[in-house]
């Protein structure tokens, strides 16, 4: 048995051995592969961490300091620095193990530390340079460079360019005093740091440009606001004299007034009022254009606002021989500027009253417009707007043909102002009209219904 068992056992061992050998070779290959993956993952993680670090510093010089220190430590360097080459000045932050970071600058950048400018000439626009032994590398021929590198104790060297759209503007340099070369994962890390620093620089340039634009716009806005304020003053002052003297004359302060004179003074007075409301409209448009609308948003209870608007419109409604019905839920609140929401209602009601023949009805209703919305509708039984002109109604100075035919006064600014105010509040406006039958304007503004003590929103109540 043993006689032939031995060879059998030997064979088995041989086969097993071969199998084992194959297996172990595979295992080693697998291990190498795993280690490679781990190194790559570690390099990515390091790049990610340093790039994140760069982003946390609002000050660019601090970001550069942090980046170069991280590169020096993580890659086990004997020297690391980041160098920026600018027309007017060269700057660098130098890291050495166990030493404080040193910021150096040279202006004019004649003989600049740590390395001569020459190194940038050797770099391609994108490519990094890896030098295993700087003392013998043919690439570094200049005696200046060799001397500089020797003085810095540089043997193994890695230079990664910091690129900008205008070309190479600097470099991240890592070096060791031994011949331990920088591996491709280390190159990846430093390249990604250089890329992040380049991007941070570009962002800063863009940010500076944006800041300059914002400053210019702010100055423009201020001069525009000043202009509106001056115009307001210059126009209102002469109006004060005109309107004031008309009132005094009508009051008899200048002596008795005969009927014909009274009628003429009445026309002057009416047109003064008209001029005044035109000035107010133009000033409102000035404010809209300078973006000053909706500067003071607050919670505006709708019912009291509608009562105020109803009271303000009452004389005009009576004079036009109309009926005004107003209803609103007591609990509705609009989020916006009270004065502007009031102006929306006054402008819409003004139109309704102006374009509704005697005996007609104007209806204002405020309702809960669904989540986050209050709906305000102004309806009239007036002359309406021709179908083909409805799309232009919100255009400044546009006036419907049936309005001009009736010689109704107005500049065509009211609805444009309404639309601007509604838009500035983030609301919506729509208009439906049948010529000869009436007009319905619906405005939806941000708002809500306050829940009443019974836990339900109250139904609209006649005011």
């Amino acid at each position: 048995m043993t006689h032939w068992l031995l060879p059998a056992g030997y064979l088995t061992a041989l086969v097993l051995g071969v199998l084992l050998g194959v297996w172990s070779g595979r295992r080693h290959a697998h291990q190498r592969h795993t280690m490679e993956q781990a190194a790559e993952a570690a390099a990515k993680e390091t790049s990610r961490r340093i790039s994140g670090l760069i982003r946390t510093y609002p000050d660019l010089a601090d970001a550069f300091d942090a980046a170069v220190a991280a590169v020096g430590q993580e890659l086990g360097c004997d020297l690391a620095y980041v160098q920026l080459v600018r027309r007017e000045e060269h700057r660098a932050t130098v890291w050495r193990p166990d030493q404080a970071l040193a910021r150096v600058a040279a202006s004019p950048p004649a003989a600049f530390l740590p390395l001569p400018d020459e190194i940038f000439g050797l770099l391609g626009a994108e490519g990094s340079v890896v030098v295993e032994d700087a003392r013998t590398h043919p690439w570094l021929k200049s005696s200046d460079m060799v001397a500089a590198l020797a003085a810095l104790d540089v043997v193994s060297l890695l230079v990664c360019p910091i690129a900008s759209p205008s070309g190479v503007i600097g470099a991240v340099v890592a070096s060791r005093a031994s011949r331990r070369p920088f591996g491709h994962h280390e190159v990846d890390v430093v390249e990604s740091v250089a890329w992040s620093l380049g991007r941070a620089l570009q962002n800063r340039v863009l940010q500076n440009q944006q800041n300059a634009v914002v400053e210019r716009l702010e100055a423009l806005d201020r001069s525009k606001s000043d202009f509106v304020a001056s115009v307001s003053h210059e126009l209102r002052t002469p109006l004060t004299s005109i309107a004031g003297y008309v009132e005094m004359l009508l009051d008899g302060d200048g002596g008795p007034v005969v009927d014909g004179q009274r009628e003429m003074l009445g026309i002057i007075g009416r047109n003064t009022d008209r001029l005044q409301s035109l000035i107010e409209d133009l000033l409102t448009i000035g404010k809209i254009e300078s973006g000053a609308l909706c500067a003071e948003p607050s919670e505006v209870p709708v019912a009291p606002l509608l009562r105020a608007v109803e009271a303000a419109m009452a004389p005009a409604v009576t004079a036009a021989g109309l009926r005004l019905d107003v209803s609103a839920g007591e609990d509705l609140v609009v989020e916006g500027d009270r004065g502007q929401v009031e102006q929306v209602l006054l402008n819409l009601l003004g139109n309704a009253v102006k374009f509704t023949p005697p005996g007609g009805i104007v209806t204002v209703v405020a309702t809960d417009g669904g989540p986050g919305r209050v709906e305000l509708t102004v309806a009239d039984t007036g002359i309406g707007v021709p179908q083909q002109e409805q799309g232009q109604l919100f255009t400044r100075f546009f006036r419907a043909s049936n309005a001009t035919q009736r010689a109704a006064q107005g500049a065509g600014l009211g609805l444009s102002i309404v639309e601007s105010i509604v838009a500035a509040h983030g609301g919506e406006i729509s208009l439906a009209s049948d010529e000869g039958a009436g007009t319905l304007v619906t405005v939806r503004l941000p708002g809500h219904a306050r829940v009443t003590s019974e836990g339900t929103a109250a139904a609209p109540a006649r005011l």
Partner: protein
């Protein structure tokens, strides 16, 4: 109308307004209402007149050369002699923030151009009554 308490038969109102037509408009109206008026066209004269003429009420235009109505108002409020002098500001600026600034400067009332002369008289009478009571 006599006013024994302030020792004058008619109340004296100081009008500080740089626009001569508006100044004259106000002066005419107030004279017609039985008041004495004195008009000045700039801030410095306004402050001086308020101190030397001892008016019963001051109307101050906000935008004036020399000193603004707001500055004059603050100045009047900081001196004992003029601390309780009623001040009505007149302005062409009608923004809420302008009106608030006016009251912060110590004004008793605030009227916006263009105003009704009748309304102005009513406010002046209110101002004069307030200081007497």
């Amino acid at each position: 109308m006599t006013d024994v308490e302030v020792g004058r038969p008619r109340p004296l109102v100081l009008i500080a307004e740089d626009d001569p037509d508006v100044r004259e408009l106000i002066a005419r109206k107030l004279r017609g209402e039985g008041m004495d008026v004195m008009g000045v066209g700039d801030g410095i004269s306004a402050l001086e007149a308020a101190r030397t003429m001892r008016p019963d009420l001051v109307l101050l235009d906000v935008m004036m050369p020399g000193m603004t109505g707001l500055q004059i108002c603050e100045e009047l409020r900081s001196h004992v002699a003029t601390r309780n002098l009623p001040v009505v500001l007149i302005t062409a600026r009608a923004r809420a923030v302008d009106i608030e600034t006016g009251y912060l400067a110590g004004a008793d009332d605030y009227i916006v151009k263009p105003f009704s002369p009748r309304d102005l008289v009513a406010r002046i009478r209110t101002g004069l009554r307030a200081v007497r009571s």
